[in-house]
Structure formats: C-alpha cells, structure tokens
Subunit: 281 residues, 2 copies
C-alpha cells in the first residue's frame, strides 16, 4: 500500500494467508569482501540470503526492507551497482523493496528483511520430520566452501553468487507435501542436526551429492551452500530434478536418539559454521 | 504462530487490519557509545527507535525481529543486560520478539524491525496535511541535543533514554483523527519540511515548546527528540496534555510554496541531522 518515504511501509494482507518473516545480515569482511565481491554481487546476495529462508518455508516472497550502514569509503557509484544487483533479484523474484534505514558505519552492514506469504497453516517447518521419512537435498554441496578455499573456477563462482531456491520451496510445499524443510547455510552436519532436534528425531545419512572437485569434508561441514534440505513421506515419488536442480536422497529419518546424525556407522559431529563459538563469558 | 528457531517467523494477520513495518539501526559510535550508555539503555533504545515509527503511524505494535552484529569485546553479561532492557520495553509495549539474526562484527550493530497493526486504511501518513490544519508537537524539543552537548542533568537523561509515544499515536489516529503525523528524529526544521513536501503544502511555524535549558537552535535543529509532529483540522479541540505529555500548537499549514517552512517571517533552513551530507560522488 505504501513504500519508501513515510515512517513505516504499509502492507495489506490477503485473506487466507500466513505471513513469514526473516532477517539476514551481510557484513563486510564477515559475509563478503569488497576486493572479491562486486557491488552487484553483494546486493544480489544480501537479498538472496533472505529469499533462501523464504524458500525454506515454501512461501512466495512479497516485500523486503533494507537497512544499510555505509562507511565513508563507499562511493555513490558502488551503491548504485549494489542497488542494481539487489533490485534485479527483487524484480525476478517479485519482491517489492518497501523501505529500510540508512546510516553511517565503519564497515558496510546490510540487513535485509524479507516477508513472504503462503496459505494458512501450510508453512514448511523444521519440526515436521517423522521416523521413516526420506531425507533429500537439492543441488550439490561443498561448492561454496571449496571456492572460498581455492578462489577459482566454478566453485569460486558458486561461492560468489547465492541462488535462492524459491520455486523449489513452493514445489516442495504444494506438490511433494514435504514434512520438514530448511535451507543449508552453516553446513549440513550442523543443519541436519538442527532439523532433527526440532523434529525430535534422529537421521541416518547414507551419502551426499558433492560439488565437482569438493571433498566430503567440504560437503559435510562447509557453509553457504543455500540448498534446501527436506524430508518427505517414504511413499512420495521425488523426481531426479526440479527445473535442472538435482534432488538427491541422502538418508532417512530414525526415531532416536533425538538430534543424533549417523554417518558411516558413527555419530557425525557437527562442525558447521557457528558465529559464536568464541563468545566471551 | 511461530517465533525464534526456524528459518522464518510466522505471523497470522487478523481480518480487517493493515500491517506497518519499520526498520532502524542502532550502531555503536553512531547512535550510542558503550562508555556513556548502559547495555540496558542500548537495548531499550534499539526497540524504542522502531516503536517511535509505529507510534507515528498510529499503529499498535505486534512483533519485532532483532539483528545483532556483535564484536569480540562484548561479553555475555553485557548481552544479557541488553536483552533485558529490550525485552522490558517489548513486554510493556506488547511487542513479541519473534526472531532475528546474529553475526560477528567489528562494532556493535543492532537492526530492529517492528511490525504494527491498525484498521484498514487508517494509518497516519505524512502526506495528509491540508492548508488551514493546525500543527502540533508532543513534549518539548531540544532536550536530547542539549544533553549530548552538556552530558549532564535532565537533558542528559533525556538523551540516554528514548520514550516512544505509542499510546499517543493511537489517540491521534482514533480520537483526534490527525491528518498527518511523523516522529521527530532528525530535528523539526528538517522533519517539518519533509512532512510539507509529502503533503505538498507549506507551514508557518509560530513557536516551539523548548526543553528547559535548551536553546531555540537545539529545539529547531537538534535530533533524537522522538516526539510526534502532527496536524489536525483547525476545528479539532486538542487537549493541553495526553497522559502527562504536553501537546502544543506550533503553527499552521499553508498552501504554498511546497516544502517551505516560515519562521519569524523568514524561510527556515533545514539543518537537522543528515547521515549522508558527506557521501562521496
């Protein structure tokens, strides 16, 4: 109803819809570097991180708000390219940029809020996986971690550009009736444990689709893959691909112990990325 | 419907309501300093900045999302006090903390998103002021700027703690049927010009309620007062106070030239705070 320019943006909800909300930081020297990412890539990825969470709920993006803290050394030209990258993805994903905040800062901080919508009660949560469900993942894993390590080739390109799986998420909700879903941002060893804890189940991991050239370590523990991890009832027929994206069964849900992930007959230790492993007491 | 712990928070809108959204940064050494603000004050003010925008629309706050970038030198104890300050205001304003993001950063960056609700089409915008409307302001102006300058007394306390005018905003919408409203964050000389530009009108400023000890310069151009600036039809009887907060007529809306503010027979030059006056070309 009303976008940038007033104290708040105004949104008129449609009848019969739940709204979902996510917020994601993109911070200079934490999530990106100015000497490796172009301004357009930073803008694209800032929104893509939020859209990946919207995809994980199976929702349709509706609008976003962008907060930007900008240091002195960022030029108007850089900001124009940043907005161009962000707005191109906003346009292609039908996400309206409805407002935000601007301030001075010492390092570039982007915080994106994305709102999505879906039919009442239909959101794909992490908590719905049941014993016997099949576990799937989209795409291949470990590419972003390999790219970060080597700085070259297809893996580097994968690292530099996040592709949110928005249409796949909607397909998982509508057609495959996925029982649980989440996006992979911190490494599947950590993220699958999180899904199991929320669903109060365990998981048997039988294998992973590994990005060409990446190791099993990259695939298990590497962050920023932004693929979808989901579970379906064992009776559901899952196609090999959705719009060119491979869908691969990687295991099945077990009853207990809660939060345990088994891999090659042993307990898998989560080693994914945790921002706060070093938090002071 | 669902708070912290999944990819997104889920909100089920009520029938007959518009939703309003605002996002506001609180950045270390820009909006606050660790050696002058307590952790609880930083937390309180982070949410208060957002609630002030919700108040300016006349809305009722519903939920908030908090993104926090935390440097190494912030302790768990500091964070606990920060959350205590934020959650106390969340509780008293009936705002549910529904999610957010956490990351490492070099300086503390808090970005708060607040969502509010109000009856369809009833939001107080900046754009509704009409020639002949009376202009009012709540409270007194210039206290925060004086406090920042002197670092002592009642003005310093005013500077350290933001009081969002949430109930007043609802009263302006429901009872006084305000024609336009905004909160004062960057100084009334700049903010009143913004309201006039959005409403395509001019304003005659006849006087201001000045914080005890502050100068007219503080009141005109000082930032962070977080009072409400609003207009009503000239026929509306506005009480002297709303719940102890003075309401003072400060002028009236004129037809033209658009965006012009007259004070003491001259054009008032906006000198309020602009984060981007020094933006590079």
């Amino acid at each position: 109803m009303l976008g940038i320019g007033d104290d708040c943006a105004i949104y008129r909800p449609r009848a019969g819809e739940d709204l979902v909300f996510t917020t994601d930081f993109s911070i200079e020297d934490v999530h990106f570097r100015l000497d490796s990412h172009t301004a357009a890539q930073v803008g694209h990825n800032a929104l893509a991180r939020g859209l990946s969470d919207i995809a994980a709920m199976g929702a349709s993006p509706r609008f976003c708000l962008l907060s930007l803290a900008v240091p002195q050394y960022i030029s108007k030209r850089w900001l124009r390219s940043f907005y161009a990258g962000l707005l191109q993805l906003a346009h292609s994903s039908e996400t309206v940029l409805a407002g935000g905040d601007l301030a001075r800062g010492q390092k570039l901080h982007c915080d994106i809020v994305v709102a999505g919508a879906l039919p009442l009660g239909s959101a794909l949560r992490r908590s719905g996986a049941k014993p016997g469900d099949a576990i799937y993942v989209s795409g291949t894993l470990g590419g972003s971690a390999l790219g970060l390590e080597t700085g070259k080739g297809a893996a580097w390109k994968r690292h530099l550009r996040i592709e949110p799986r928005v249409r796949l998420g909607q397909y998982l909700r509508r057609t495959l009736k996925a029982t649980a879903c989440m996006d992979l941002s911190d490494g599947i060893s950590l993220d699958l444990q999180r899904l199991c804890l929320e669903s109060k189940v365990a998981a048997l991991l039988t294998g992973l689709p590994v990005f060409p050239g990446a190791s099993m370590e990259h695939a298990l523990h590497g962050g920023e893959d932004y693929e979808l991890l989901f579970t379906v009832k064992s009776s559901v027929k899952v196609p090999d691909r959705f719009e060119e994206i491979p869908l691969t069964q990687i295991g099945e849900i077990l009853q207990s112990p809660q939060g345990r992930v088994l891999f090659k007959g042993k307990k898998l230790t989560p080693k994914g990325y945790d921002h706060f492993r070093t938090l002071q007491q």
